[in-house]
Symmetry: C2
Subunit: 587 residues, 2 copies
């Protein structure tokens, strides 16, 4: 094919869907468009009576996809060399595990009139926690069986995952459960819709979702056997027959774009459609993941990924929630860990120190003097300033100078403790402690959390010399990145793209299209052409690293004492050592 | 004597001296006047190079006393039945341990020209911590000797106390040390000055200062023997010979007001002058302390006092910093404990949540629109509102609902751990934690700290059915008092007076004057006539108390794990139980 080639990446998030058009030869992001979901609260269907419930209506997916692609095409219109039929491939990433009950045609039950308002017939969004009891029961049973089917997902099954949710559905809404011909991950449904074949028996199930969330593993020939589920609950009889026996890596071309969707989107019918995968995994690929490099997507929470040749991993890594062959890059084991809150913690503290301006100023005489609009604007402006001013002051502190230590568990702990019932701690407070010191300690706490993950990976033979970060936080916070480099003792680089997940999806579209169509033969080639890093590099200050290694030992004491049952001894040294280290900075 | 009788109480604080004139028959506070010290920073001489240093210039005491008494007399002028010569007695309280190096005439060395600018020749204010190394050495040596001379001051000698400071002086300023004929507590010097006899050999030393801060005890015949001090440091040779062998309870009439001071103050020469004591002890008397009632003075920190018949206390109480016969009320053992930060913690958190208004608002467009004066006024107003609004919201929470737990060690721990090297902790934080929840948890933390003290006293046979509180905090915070009642499981009453220390001093003046002069025969009689309670009584809600008892068990786990070397085991249950209790409040 002559001329330039382009690929389309579709990135389905928690509140919106993004369509991105990228140039295959450079990775240049020609155009993108975000469509915000219109249903529920920012796209999430909630239940006032149950804070654990979080669903999405699948109509938001199909309507949103159409709007976003149309918008991106329109925006791309002006770009040099671009025309819609120069798009050679489509890739899709979504959140997950986000299973959707479907009918015999593979269409979401919520598309049917009788179920359209029933949250149980909608997509069970990744952050739905209604199935915590079922998750605990699955973990318990798995520990009694041999093999333990949770071996490759960290030894603990989560309420956020596929089978917990299906079982909870079976228990609480027999009608929807009975009407479900199958349960399909969001990332598997969208490519099937685009390719025009949603027959549940033929939908290509992604290796990534199957392996990380549904205990699918070659070691036991696919999903756990039906007896496992039957032993949990009689209602799960016949479950595996409704599911699948194969899974596919994300570069697989599952078909060509069907006429119906070609028309809706304004693209050429037959355009290659790739198998789907989870957002973070595709983001890792666009960030340039390769063996020996940890990719860390940092935003409200973090997702940490690494890939390794199958032989390298000697044993399953406890507490690391996924180790799946081909889940990120075909042919390599994809390993996923994560921190359940990072940016969310900083925003939480920003709101603490921002309370007087939000809640008190309007009550003062000066506040009453200001127009409502001026006040809102002041609050908006100062929320932004809060980070800026705290960072400016925090950057001048020396490691250990605040005397503070924080446990970053304000949203529980994902890796390595896999325990949502843990909470945050700030320790070392004195009457002289100032907001920018707490702010820095909270950042350091998340970096110590990151170090626990890196060290766990290392213990199991996965050494990481370098980190690549991407996401909203790294790109805007050099101070944060330098702290992470100092605490982790590793060089940190930043992915070039601001929308790595969508770009990664587009790259998988390019591999699905293949070289002949102007795409690529494999993921590595797509990375060489389309992914890149920024110029900034954060090199650890090894003197700071030494101090942080002392602080990390104290963090680990707290971590083990509050987070495990195997720690013994008192914590008497913690406060003493913190004061010692603090004094050291003042000499 | 015919007509009404009045007494004068002189209360020397950290930043000012207060003179109070009270009616002996009712305790009515006829007039008072505060004189702020003029030297140093709010009366405290500091050293930029050493944050531990805190001194006062004795000229502030004499000049301030004159101003304050003159002011009080002027203010009292109008009161029915009042004339200056109806004042029958004078009592004095001061901070302590605040030793002052004096010359052979008993006058402060800082009164002399050659020493007037030397902080070492001034009063070593209670909160001076320059002598921390000496304190540790005294504690260490005392533990090796038999008897252990720190037995009746909690087993740990403090940097704030008499001998630590004298030894530090001997080491760091030999000239001043050599010029010192003796070292006199502030509370002993002022009555001596008023009575016109400051001969160091004759100055009456108060039981309270001697017993609580100078290891003076009948068990070893007074001060520790000279050998003890000589064994610490050759420079302390001959120290006890410069000191004293007797001590006196505070109702002792040490003499009559001398001509010189009678003239300066505008009072009758010969007016009874009582022996001095520490402020908190006199405050306890004015609050109505009696066996079985704990008096808690609550302000920036707390001082907890109880009195008991000599036989009742079976053994010295570990971690309780003073147990001294007659130190509060003659004939009874005075026991003093305390919390090193209470109100200071609330103010610290107020400043955290107030940061945006102080530091960010001026940087916003709206802030620039406001006049500087308006902005300052807004900040001032909202600092006040912060407590009000947080309290309004916090009062609506149920015990345990926040899921938070705090260790109230932001200024170390005085009782029962006697360890300044401890720091504050806030635990149980989630992304949903709001400022009023933290505020409540901080208050609860101080109340748990109070409960540790009460339980330690109980273990040693000193049961307390009731608490009387006084000081700035209780009078303005019914919410705080109710929380304390609920957590302690005891009824709390409030002293009537807002200036209990000065009133207590006046009452000791009345006892020193005696019945014949229109005063009293003993402290109990003075209490019956002059001290009273407010109408408000805080009765514990026993359902709340039950929940708090569960929370207190968790507090104790943290307390013992971080604060002692004898705790073992992990803290795994702490976060789990907090979440459990929180869930319980939501059902």
């Amino acid at each position: 094919m002559a001329g330039k080639h382009f690929v389309l990446g579709l990135d389905f998030g928690t509140n919106s869907v993004r369509a991105l058009i990228a140039d295959t030869s450079t990775g240049e992001e020609v155009a993108s468009c975000i469509h915000d979901y219109t249903r529920g609260r920012h796209g999430v269907i909630l239940d006032e009576k149950d804070p654990h419930l979080a669903r999405q209506h699948p109509l938001d997916y199909t309507e949103g996809m159409e709007q976003a692609v149309r918008g991106a095409l329109e925006a791309a219109g002006a770009a040099a060399g671009f025309k819609p039929d120069a798009i050679i491939g489509i890739g899709v990433d979504t959140t997950g595990s986000t299973p959707i009950p479907v009918d015999a045609d593979g269409l979401p039950l919520a598309f049917r009139k009788e179920f359209t308002d029933n949250p149980n017939a909608m997509a069970w969004l990744w952050k739905d926690h209604t199935a915590h009891a079922e998750a605990a029961a699955i973990t318990g049973r798995a520990r009694e069986t041999s093999p333990d089917y949770t071996t490759y997902c960290g030894g603990t099954y989560s309420s956020e995952w596929f089978f917990s949710k299906i079982w909870h559905l079976a228990k609480t809404d027999p009608e929807v459960y009975a009407a479900s011909a199958s349960f399909v991950e969001h990332c598997d449904l969208m490519p099937a819709l685009l390719a025009g074949d949603t027959d549940p028996a033929r939908i290509k199930r992604s290796r990534c979702a199957a392996g990380h969330k549904a205990m699918f593993n070659a070691a036991w020939g696919g999903l756990p056997p039906q007896e496992f589920f039957s032993s949990l609950d009689g209602r799960l009889k016949g479950l595996t027959a409704r599911l699948y026996t194969e899974s596919h890596t994300a570069e697989t071309r599952i078909g060509g774009l069907c006429e119906e969707w070609a028309k809706k989107l304004g693209l050429a019918a037959g355009t290659a459609v790739a198998s789907g995968a989870f957002d973070a995994h595709m983001g890792a690929v666009a960030s340039g993941i390769r063996p020996g490099v940890l990719v860390k997507i940092m935003g409200t929470s973090s997702c940490d990924m690494i890939i390794a040749p199958p032989g390298e991993l000697k044993a399953a890594i406890p507490g690391v929630c996924g180790q799946v062959d081909g889940s990120i890059v075909p042919g390599l084991v994809g390993i996923e860990a994560g921190q359940s809150a990072v940016g969310d913690i900083f925003a939480w503290y920003r709101d603490q120190v921002h309370w007087s301006l939000e809640d008190l100023l309007p009550l003062t005489a000066a506040g009453r003097q200001l127009e409502q609009e001026t006040m809102r604007e002041a609050a908006r402006q100062s929320r932004g300033l809060a980070y800026e001013v705290m960072s400016e002051r925090a950057v001048r502190l020396r490691p250990g100078e605040s005397g503070l230590l924080s446990l970053d568990w304000l949203n529980g702990n994902r890796t390595v403790l896999v325990d949502p019932n843990l909470t945050g701690v700030i320790l070392g407070l004195t009457l002289g402690t100032r907001p920018h010191e707490v702010f820095r300690a909270l950042i350091e706490g998340t970096a110590f959390g990151a170090r626990v993950i890196v060290e766990r990976l290392e213990e199991y033979g996965l050494s990481t010399d370098e980190l690549i970060t991407c996401g909203g936080l790294p790109n805007q916070n050099p101070f944060l990145m330098q702290l992470y480099a100092d605490i982790l003792g590793r060089t940190i680089k930043l992915a070039r793209s601001d929308q790595t997940c969508a770009l990664g999806a587009a790259m998988f579209g390019a591999v699905a299209a293949g070289t002949e169509q102007g795409g690529f033969d494999n993921v590595e080639e797509a990375q060489a052409a389309m992914s890149a890093l920024r110029d900034e590099t954060f090199v650890p200050d090894m003197e700071h690293h030494a101090v942080y290694t002392r602080l990390f030992a104290l963090y680990k004491m707290l971590h083990d004492s509050f987070g495990t049952r195997h720690h013994s001894g008192n914590l008497f040294p913690v406060m003493k050592d913190l004061l010692d280290i603090k004094r050291g900075t003042q000499e």
